[in-house]
Symmetry: D2
Subunit: 258 residues, 4 copies
């Protein structure tokens, strides 16, 4: 499963942890298709990581489970391997632990991203920037009928960023005259922002932010129809590790828009 002889001089040597999962398999394909990257190791989500070292992996892409991601991260850092991970559950205290490990390995790079869709990251960024120019804003996310949680993590994050931008700009609560809503049609209140979740076969993953003022609305919408839409973001993160030591949370700073 690992083969150092595959490495091409000048190419970044990439390994995938969780290579047989859906995101992992897609990542293997995307790395193989990229002209500047070399896929030199594929290991299962709970398998030994020794093949990564044997294959001389420089960056590991990790899509596994919350209960093994910390062990995987530590192994990589201790073995001189940068990591890009999209495994869920890497929040708050766990991030502090990772930051501690990185203090001991200051040349290593870890990118933690809850969402690798560049379009969704741009949607959240643009919504945050536009927020102070509009009187009100709401979030509508749509997903396939098999999703178990509502609203989505990405929608909650976007709502929180928007709420913070409004507060920073000195805006008060969004206007809302509703006095009667017996069945909860107005949706979830996330830091004062209404968030609506639609679940339906025929949908995949869609994030919409609508901002409104007297006489106008601005709509920002990302439609993700296939897992392939995450790959440009994964590859962007892989390449960024070589020039960004330390911990990076979220793709946005990697887009270099400022």
């Amino acid at each position: 499963m690992s083969d150092p002889s595959k490495a091409v001089p000048g190419h970044l040597r990439v390994g995938v942890i969780g290579a047989r999962g859906r995101m992992g398999a897609q990542t293997c394909q995307a790395v193989q298709d990229a002209g500047d990257l070399e896929l030199v190791a594929e290991v299962g989500g709970r398998a030994s990581l020794t093949p990564l070292v044997e294959a001389g992996v420089q960056v590991a892409v990790e899509f596994t489970h919350p209960d093994v991601v910390m062990d995987n991260l530590r192994f990589c850092l201790e073995n001189g391997i940068d990591v890009v991970t999209g495994t869920s559950g890497l929040l708050g205290p766990r991030l502090e632990v990772v930051r501690g490990w990185l203090a001991d390995h200051p040349e290593r790079s870890v990118v933690v991203a809850p969402n690798f869709a560049v379009g969704a990251v741009l949607t959240a960024r643009f919504a945050r920037q536009a927020a102070r120019f509009f009187e009100s804003v709401e979030v509508i996310e749509r997903h396939h009928a098999g999703k178990i949680d509502a609203p989505s993590f990405t929608a909650i994050s976007a709502a929180r960023e928007i709420a913070r931008a409004r507060a920073d700009a000195g805006l008060g609560p969004v206007p809302d005259a509703t006095t009667s809503d017996p069945d909860g049609a107005r949706g979830a209140d996330v830091d004062g922002i209404a968030v609506h979740a639609v679940r339906m076969p025929g949908m995949v993953a869609h994030l919409e932010v609508v901002l409104g003022s007297s006489g106008e609305t601005l709509t920002l919408r990302h439609d993700s129809l296939h897992r392939s839409s995450f790959m440009p973001g994964v590859l962007l993160a892989v390449r960024a590790t070589t020039r960004r030591p330390g911990l990076t949370v979220g793709l946005e700073s990697l887009l270099e828009l400022d």
Copy 2:
């Protein structure tokens, strides 16, 4: 305020009750602009209706208040005047009373419509017809931030019609794997159909129905940007009174689509 001399032979003589309200004023304008109608009387929502009789009104358009609409209707029927009304609160038992009055005046016509926007009526109709071909369906309604109730009456009606159509076709509950929704992002449940309400400056009145099955969605959306969008429906109802004695509830049957 009334002037029988204004009547033109062969034109339908129309009076407006509640002529100084927003819908009433718009109706006066629309009747004046219509080549086949003659505006011969305008009275206030709580004023004496005698001017209607003096002006020889054939059809009265009534946009007033729930507490006077029944008196207005009875007066018109007793004085040989057909009525088109959009006043809210004309439901269930009140409709039966009106039906009783019409039994005593079998040549008279009353059209009661909760929504005169032909586009919204078509949206609800098409949604009901499409319902049995899709696995799932949700309703999103958007209104200006000054609206006090959620969801809108039109959205509730649409959801109920859709639910009935699904039941008639033998479809079970819509698929939904949601197990965690602590803040109610999934919206209101109206007869098993999720209904979401957005409230925002820059919006007016918008009804969207989304139907989905594996690999596809069908979206039906009506955007009403101005009260003028109700006028074609009001005029359609006015003209229909001459050939439809009895009680008509809703505009749909007047569209003669079947």
Copy 3:
């Protein structure tokens, strides 16, 4: 490739011609998944059709090429097999030939459909029905960047049906004050209806009809994200053959909406 022993009593015995093409393969899967159908034969698009007869096929689904579809249709009719076909090029004179064959086999059924997406058929139907209530209408179709023709056949058909409905209702040309459009931004003119074609990676097949009058718009939109969205329409046609002898063009009449 064919096996009469697979037939289950009471089930409709289905064969697929062009079984290794993309639509054919998807159809094989859909028939196998349907509880009331039995897949008893799969043949290539240009292969001998004898296996259909040997397998006792009652209905053949045919997705092949314009240059073989006529031979395939004749073979089936002469061998007592009903046909559902989505092969392109079955227009005008060819349909008359098929009608002639059916005159010799009056118990046989042929369904020819240019588009098996029920949602797209509904969109065109609803647009046609709504057309006379709105002052104007335009069509926007969106497809993947690999499509070679613009606008799509489905969009052209929809525009033509809409134009006919407007003419039947006595509506004149759509209002359009454009006097300067040096680069053709107003799109194609199909029987007086503007049709716009968008081509982009990330899109699949999308049909949108927008109708507008003073103060309001009605939007009807079908989004097809995957070939699986055609299967309900294919199965609907397969089942309809048993009760509709003769030629049926298009899915709409099979939906039994009137």
Copy 4:
């Protein structure tokens, strides 16, 4: 028409040129409603500007005609008045003339904006920023049926900015396999970007940019339903004059997003 006694200490004294036009009248209202501005003069589009000087106007908002705007600008600059103008035709050589006048009055400020809708400016900005992350992009603009030119100036500007951003990022032409488009459904080609123009009653002014890559699309859409949506941008420009001497073209730099 002008009244210096109306000025409130500490408030910016504003005059409106073209005060009886639609944009001018809306501006007068907006200035009156703003707590930090004082409307001290209103003059017609071709009237004497002396009242501006008599009223001690600090900033003039100018919505007039291409044939008088240059005279109005010069008068203001020579009389110590800053100017915000949305009059069309202030391009290329004319801007150079204005720049020359400002060289003689280095403390004066002129803001020239083709579009005062902040939402439209944000849409164009976000589209330009997102462009390099997507394989393709198209622009769809929708306007009322009375608009005489297509595509809109704002859509052309947006397309040009997007094309420049793609070129800067080293992206080649957008992918497009179209070989047959006899009636021009693919729309206008503006620097390699397809631009589509929809014209319809019920629409006002809408700008949509759609970006797409394999498996995803990003949609940025501004809907302007009323002239009131331009007022926040006008007031933003008025206030900015006090701290931005020289010529400012377009609202974007005033939004201070970087």
